[in-house]
């Protein structure tokens, strides 16, 4: 059960982080990113990734949990990139 939660957190975190960059915000919303919004997205994004790390480590321990988290970062990163490119 931890895995879908962690995966969701990583994915949401990645989307927020990508939207905190002007280039990708414009891709999605077609206007310039306000600075305060960028800050919020960044905080949200990093908290998503860190919460996911916590979930992985709590459920699987440091060794396997860290690996699970890194694996999710790689796989879901690829999906985020493709989503942004072919949205």
């Amino acid at each position: 059960m931890t895995l879908p939660i962690a995966a969701g957190l990583v994915f949401a975190g990645y989307l927020a982080l990508s939207l905190s960059m002007n280039r990708h915000y414009r891709q999605v919303f077609d206007r310039t990113l306000p600075a305060t919004l960028a800050f919020c997205f960044r905080i949200l994004g990093w908290s998503g990734l860190l919460l996911a790390l916590t979930a992985c480590v709590v459920s699987s321990g440091w060794g396997a949990g860290l690996l699970l988290w890194l694996g999710l970062l790689s796989a879901l990163g690829l999906i985020s990139v493709l989503l942004l490119a072919f949205r």
Partner: protein
């Protein structure tokens, strides 16, 4: 590598690295990557397949039942011991494998130094047995997923030493390419999510960057730990400094570093072997039920017999496990070795464990597999980028065609598509070679290399673009038709395995089908992009193109 189009010219061929650390690193990255790229592609691709080695084993021996990990350890050990007593009397060593997880799905035995006069099958041998009946499995001879994954460090036709030297060298260059790649990539975070499709060279560079950066922890881990495997071959002087030179010194080091404690020479006095049940019970009490993986009996039937019980390695990332050494006659526990002996041994076991991923459950295993594919894709896009960049330049210059560029293009199509096709051919050979063929397993692997050679040759005979489309089509058919071939040649077709809930066989068929579809999509995309458009039929072009034309740049 992401410097924008003008900056990329800094790595022009035949140009010495001139000024600037970053330029020197770009030069190093380009040429180290190119020189060993195809070999590294083979290493990454077959190594990635290795994360599903026992699953591939299963598909390649469809006669076998599902994994027998549910069996009781004591019963299985008794069964194996009886088999060893009849098949390998008088042996110096009996080894019992108990099925504990996906890494060891069936019971098995292995023996050394048995006496043929006393009725042994052979002086040494190994068998996989059906844990339900105690009989030998009747299955086709195959190299299976094991031989396929061993390809990534044994290179099959070479000796161990030759392969070690070549693979070690390639691994070292992989590490160099990774580190220099990080140095020359100025905008790791800024370009983290950036992939701009349909922009030629720019798109290849984006793809290369994305595949490299997103799985960078995996790439670094797998490359560095790959070197750790070969530390003893590559840094023999560290051992020599303490143990001296020569084979004897090396054997002494390996014995001290890796041999279990408390082993004695045979006394040549017979004494009955103690029953295994109480020893297994003792070990299971310490480690948990079903966690005895291997039982190693030295000098069975001798007064100095020793029985070693090894714990499963599947709970911790590090490839360490507990060990108990018992007296083989009295059953007394002589030594209990904790998983970690020393820091350096612990670090080695951690890296080896990380590399092999034997501990990984299904989800983590898939993530390992995806990361491995991303590494394979990183190498492939790097090689393609080299060629695309120079092809664009050559077309602009309209000069004579560069033979080096042509060679790289031919090797690219013949390897980046040809090798996957060759791996599919390995699976086809498994189903099509006659069951009684002499050296059948070897011929499966020959089929892989013959197919690869044929694909390389085919690439040189066709215009490069035609070769890409045609070979991608071959790849699509080779993978997508594997489930059909399986259905025609065995009774374990996809419908049967799905209805029986046999996820391993069904999973293999479905992954092959998915890969076939992916290859077909690539073939179709390139076919549409590159098909010549007659001047008077421009209007019909839009329906041929499966993808919308490039969006306006932002």
């Amino acid at each position: 590598m992401s410097k924008g189009a003008p900056g990329l010219r800094e790595t022009a061929p035949k140009k010495r690295p001139q000024g600037g650390f970053r330029q020197a690193m770009a030069w190093l990255h380009t040429w180290a990557g190119l020189a060993l790229g195809w070999l590294l592609f083979l290493i990454f691709l077959t190594g990635t397949a290795g994360y599903f080695d026992t699953e591939i084993d299963r598909w390649m021996q469809p006669e076998l039942p599902p994994a027998q990990t549910h069996l009781n350890a004591s019963n299985t050990a008794d069964l194996l011991l009886r088999r060893l007593a009849t098949d390998a009397p008088g042996a110096e060593r009996w080894f019992l494998r108990l099925p504990d997880d996906r890494n060891q799905p069936y019971p098995g035995i292995f023996w050394q130094g048995a006496s043929v006069e006393a009725g042994a099958r052979a002086a040494r041998g190994s068998l996989t047995l059906n844990g339900e009946t105690g009989d030998m499995f009747q299955a086709r001879d195959t190299g299976g997923g094991q031989l396929l994954y061993q390809l990534h460090w044994r290179l099959h036709y070479l000796t161990r030493t030759q392969a070690d030297v070549i693979v070690g060298f390639a691994t070292l260059f992989m590490l160099v390419a990774l580190i220099s790649g990080v140095i020359i990539h100025k905008k790791i975070f800024k370009d983290f999510f950036t992939f701009r499709p349909r922009k030629g060279q720019r798109s290849w560079l984006d793809a290369h960057n994305v595949l490299s950066v997103l799985a960078l922890p995996f790439h670094l881990m797998i490359t560095y730990s790959g070197l750790v495997f070969m530390a003893f071959s590559y840094m023999p002087l560290v051992v020599a400094a303490h143990y001296g030179f020569g084979d004897d010194a090396r054997s002494q080091f390996f014995a001290e570093a890796f041999d279990p404690p408390g082993i004695e020479e045979a006394a040549n006095e017979t004494a009955p072997l103690v029953a295994l049940d109480p020893l297994i019970a003792k070990a299971e009490k310490a480690w948990g039920s079903g966690r005895v993986r291997n039982i190693d009996i030295r000098h069975p039937g001798d007064r100095n017999a020793r029985i070693l019980l090894y714990e499963s390695t599947n709970t911790s990332v590090s490839r360490t496990a507990g060990l108990m050494v018992f007296d083989g006659v009295s059953g007394e526990l002589l030594h209990r070795v904790a998983p970690e002996l020393s820091t350096s041994r612990g670090v080695r076991d951690l890296f080896v464990g990380l590399h092999e991923g034997l501990f990984a459950g299904p989800w983590l295993r898939w993530l390992y597999f995806i990361s491995g594919l991303m590494g394979t894709g990183m190498i492939a896009t790097g090689l393609l980028l080299w060629a695309v960049k120079r092809r664009q330049r050559a077309e602009k210059a309209t000069g004579v065609e560069n033979p080096g560029l042509r060679l790289v293009e031919k090797l690219n199509v013949g390897t980046l598509v040809g090798l996957p096709v060759a791996i599919a051919a390995y699976f086809w050979a498994n189903r099509l070679l006659p069951a009684g063929l002499e050296a059948r397993a070897a011929w499966e692997m020959h089929s892989l290399f013959i197919t690869w050679a044929a694909m390389l040759l085919y690439g040189t005979l066709r215009p490069t673009k035609r070769a890409w489309v045609e070979q991608l089509t071959v790849a699509a058919l080779a993978f997508a038709l594997l489930p059909l071939l399986n259905a025609l040649t065995t009774d374990r077709h996809l419908g049967a395995s799905l209805s029986e809930g046999d996820l391993i066989l069904a999973g293999f068929d479905m992954v092959m089908l998915a890969m076939g579809i992916a290859w077909a999509a690539a073939a179709w995309y390139l076919h549409c992009r590159w098909s010549p458009v007659p001047a008077d039929q421009n209007a019909t072009r839009s329906w041929v193109k499966p993808f919308a034309p490039a969006r306006s740049a932002k």
